[in-house]
């Protein structure tokens, strides 16, 4: 199987995905959740309410700007508004109880914007630290920094596409970027490298058997030997995640989708980005 002859195609696909992602990130940015922007999420059950007007009235009298209110069926409501203090919360509680005595709080979260900034900084630190650690680890395991660098670049490629995908999903479907997304992003890093290392391992083994073999030929052989495994393995992870996307709750649906995009990207990039990058470097050295 001569997969490496498709390298130009891989380059085109990756560059297109990367440019769309970067374009969307710059143009539309993200829909930040309260984890990043600060604010309040309030979910409660008020089974006796006929419509949302009484809730709107309460917020009007309290002079709190509601940014969204969505009935979720079953007497459940999800409200989003600015960060409030304790006194405001107490009076909101009291007013809501007067319009529905069966009021039941399901979830209440309020936080200031400072935490979001920290989360962002910490995520960037985590990515840099992971990149360095993996660069050194893979570099030393394969006794060749080219492998480490290619794996890390493929991993960054996946991260940018995942971030871009969520910028697009946010713009068109309102997907929010929250701390769970950060977790998904960091998991993508490891899933991506996981696949790449398996393919590299084959090249390492082939090189041990035959030192004179041509790099492109070796890459082709390695990829065709592991591609069934890569696809099968991704399928199992995809099955698990699809179950979560379909059956899981609302809070985790986007999270599972982010992981799904990350895993698919990771499988693709180990063959289509990491290996071509190694070949690119090896050829330029000659």
């Amino acid at each position: 199987m001569n997969i490496m002859k498709f390298r130009p195609l891989f380059y085109i696909i990756s560059l297109t995905l990367l440019s769309v992602s970067i374009f969307s990130i710059i143009k539309w940015r993200f829909v930040p959740s309260i984890d990043f922007a600060g604010g309040t999420v309030w979910e409660f059950k008020a089974p006796n309410l006929k419509n949302v007007d009484p809730i709107n009235n309460i917020f009007d009298t309290q002079k709190i700007q509601l940014s969204s209110i969505s009935p979720e069926g079953d007497g459940k409501y999800l409200l989003k508004f600015a960060n409030i203090n304790q006194d405001q919360k107490v009076s909101l509680d009291n007013s809501i109880k007067t319009i529905d005595k069966d009021f039941q709080e399901l979830r209440f979260e309020t936080l200031g914007p400072t935490l979001g900034k920290e989360l962002l900084q910490k995520t960037i630190f985590a990515i840099i630290l992971s990149s360095l650690a993996l660069l050194l680890f893979i570099g030393s395991r394969f006794k060749d920094l080219t492998f480490g660098a290619s794996a890390v670049l493929a991993m960054l490629h996946d991260s940018i596409i995942l971030i871009g995908a969520f910028s697009l999903l946010g713009h068109f479907l309102g997907a929010e970027v929250d701390s769970l997304f950060v977790t998904a992003l960091l998991t993508t890093l490891s899933a991506s490298v996981h696949d790449t290392v398996v393919t590299f391992d084959r090249i390492r083994e082939l090189k041990r058997q035959n030192t004179k073999i041509d790099w492109v030929e070796m890459a082709n052989q390695a990829v065709s030997e592991v591609i069934v495994r890569s696809i099968n393995n991704s399928m199992t992870v995809i099955f698990m995640l699809l179950a979560l996307v379909v059956l899981g709750g609302d809070t985790t649906r986007w999270f599972a989708l982010a992981l799904l995009i990350g895993v698919v990207c990771g499988t693709y990039s180990s063959t289509a980005v990491a290996i071509p990058l190694v070949l690119f470097w090896k050829r330029n050295k000659k």
């Binding site: 709080e105 950060v182 696949d195 290392v197 398996v198 179950a243 709750g249 985790t252 999270f255 992981l259």
Partner: protein, 458 residues
């Protein structure tokens, strides 16, 4: 036919079976009622999961094997406060933070929450106080209690006439002296120069000195109780009238408890101003829904993966599925034993690691297929498959563990994440990878060695 290596494999095989049964017992529900009525056969019995209760030297080990759920699943409240240390000198910060933490812990304990968690975390240049209150439904009351100013008060213990004791309330036994924490200049733990016993010395301001003089006169040879937040801390007997505004509390202290008391007294009011920056309240019903949905998704995913493995690898896939079940049992047992506090991201981490656990098997089975294609016998292909796939399994999983550790942040580095959600995910992922290697490589290999050999001899 019994080669030495074969008898060894048999031993390993039975160890695996034993381990599996052990994990099944750990994972049994706490109570398992059995009711069978069939013809004239009546069995009605409730089995109880045995708890681990035994004494090891002086240590008593008591494990209940209950799964622990995080706030998002069990319901409860979480509060994050910003701690303002700007008004303190650098060298005083640590001790102020210590007394802040012990102070808050005492207040939280007053609230009667089991397994409350108070944590200090350092952000780049300021400190955060994270308080988790599982099961608390009234967050407003909790906030009020935590944010209040603690009151130090001195109350005389009054003799109640015997005929009135029946109707007397607790409050009737104490009479406020007017002396309070605002009069305290400092409390110091020290070793008494006279008795060489640890004691706590108190120093009052001018007004406090006067009040204290009067109190010691009123209650000479009686007891004055010292209250902190309406909790009695100690009730020393007044030996002499004290006029200089200095008092010593002595009694049955060791140095540690004297120090703790001094800290508590100094911290009558919170030693540092705190500001509420985040509050989270999760109702128990929402959490239960999340658990149910997560379990359902996990089971459905697992079923599809199992069918996929059998469809793709036949007999081998079946063995891999058995390995997967053992994997699930071991993982759940470890969650109970360590214990791991399960959060929703944690469940997702578990589900994801199931997918990754199968990976080792897929790698090995694909290798075996290659070797068979090259004309190796089935047994040779199996041993070679496991041997050759090991290199890539090792390196690939090491990479995942590296990222997992950066997410988990075991050394509490302030520049990395410390949030419970992300950590909950990381811990289940790391555990999952570790156990996945064990079951995917070691367990399946030995199962195959025994079962395949048995099959071949049949």
């Amino acid at each position: 036919m019994n080669t030495p290596s074969h008898s060894k494999t048999i031993k390993v095989f039975w160890t695996i079976i034993g381990l599996t049964f052990l994990t099944i017992i750990i994972n049994l529900p706490n109570q398992l009622p059995i009711n069978i009525h069939w013809g004239n056969l009546n069995i009605s019995h409730t089995f109880y999961r045995p708890n681990l209760n035994f004494k090891l030297g002086s240590a008593t080990i008591n494990k209940k094997f209950d799964l622990k759920y995080g706030l998002d699943l069990a319901g409860g409240a979480a509060l994050i406060y910003d701690v303002d240390t700007s008004k303190l000198k650098k060298e005083d910060i640590t001790s102020a933070l210590d007394s802040l933490k012990s102070n808050i812990e005492r207040r939280v304990n007053l609230f009667g929450v089991s397994e409350a968690n108070v944590q200090l975390s350092k952000q780049s240049d300021n400190y955060r106080l994270v308080i988790e209150l599982p099961g608390v439904t009234d967050i407003n009351q909790a906030i009020g209690l935590i944010g209040q100013t603690a009151q130090l008060s001195f109350k005389g213990i009054v003799d109640i006439p015997p005929e009135a004791t029946a109707s007397a309330k607790i409050e009737d036994y104490f009479k406020d002296t007017g002396l309070s924490g605002s009069n305290l200049v400092r409390a110091v733990a020290q070793i008494s120069p006279n008795t060489s016993e640890p004691e706590v010395s108190l120093e009052f301001d001018n007004e406090g000195a006067k009040l204290f003089e009067k109190a010691t006169k009123d209650y000479l040879k009686k007891k004055i109780a010292i209250f902190l937040d309406d909790q009695i801390v100690t009730a020393p007997e007044v030996q002499v009238v004290i006029t200089d505004g200095r008092a010593v509390i002595n009694g049955s202290f060791d140095l540690q408890s004297a120090k703790t008391l001094a800290v508590q007294l100094n911290a009558g009011a919170l030693p540092l101003p705190i500001k509420l920056i985040q509050q989270t309240q999760v109702g128990a019903t929402l959490g239960k829904e999340s658990i149910d949905k997560g379990i359902k998704a996990g089971l459905v995913g697992l079923a599809i993966v199992s069918i996929f493995m059998i469809g793709n690898y036949g007999y081998l896939g079946l063995i891999a599925d058995i390995g997967l079940i053992i994997y699930g049992l071991i993982t759940l047992s470890l969650y109970r034993l360590i214990p791991v506090t399960l959060t929703f991201p944690g469940i997702v981490g578990f589900i994801l690691s199931v997918g990754m656990a199968v990976d080792s098997n897929i790698l090995i089975f694909e290798r075996m297929r290659e070797e068979t294609r090259k004309g190796k016998s089935w047994n040779q292909a199996m041993e070679l498959g496991f041997g050759r796939a090991w290199d890539s399994i090792k390196d690939a999983n090491a990479c995942t563990i590296i990222t997992g550790l950066i997410l988990f942040n075991p050394l509490n580095w302030p520049f990395l994440n410390t949030s419970g959600m992300v950590r909950g995910f990381a811990i289940t992922l790391i555990l999952g990878i570790g156990i996945g290697i064990f079951t995917g490589v070691f367990v399946t290999r030995n199962l195959l060695r025994v079962l395949a050999r048995e099959k071949n001899t049949l």
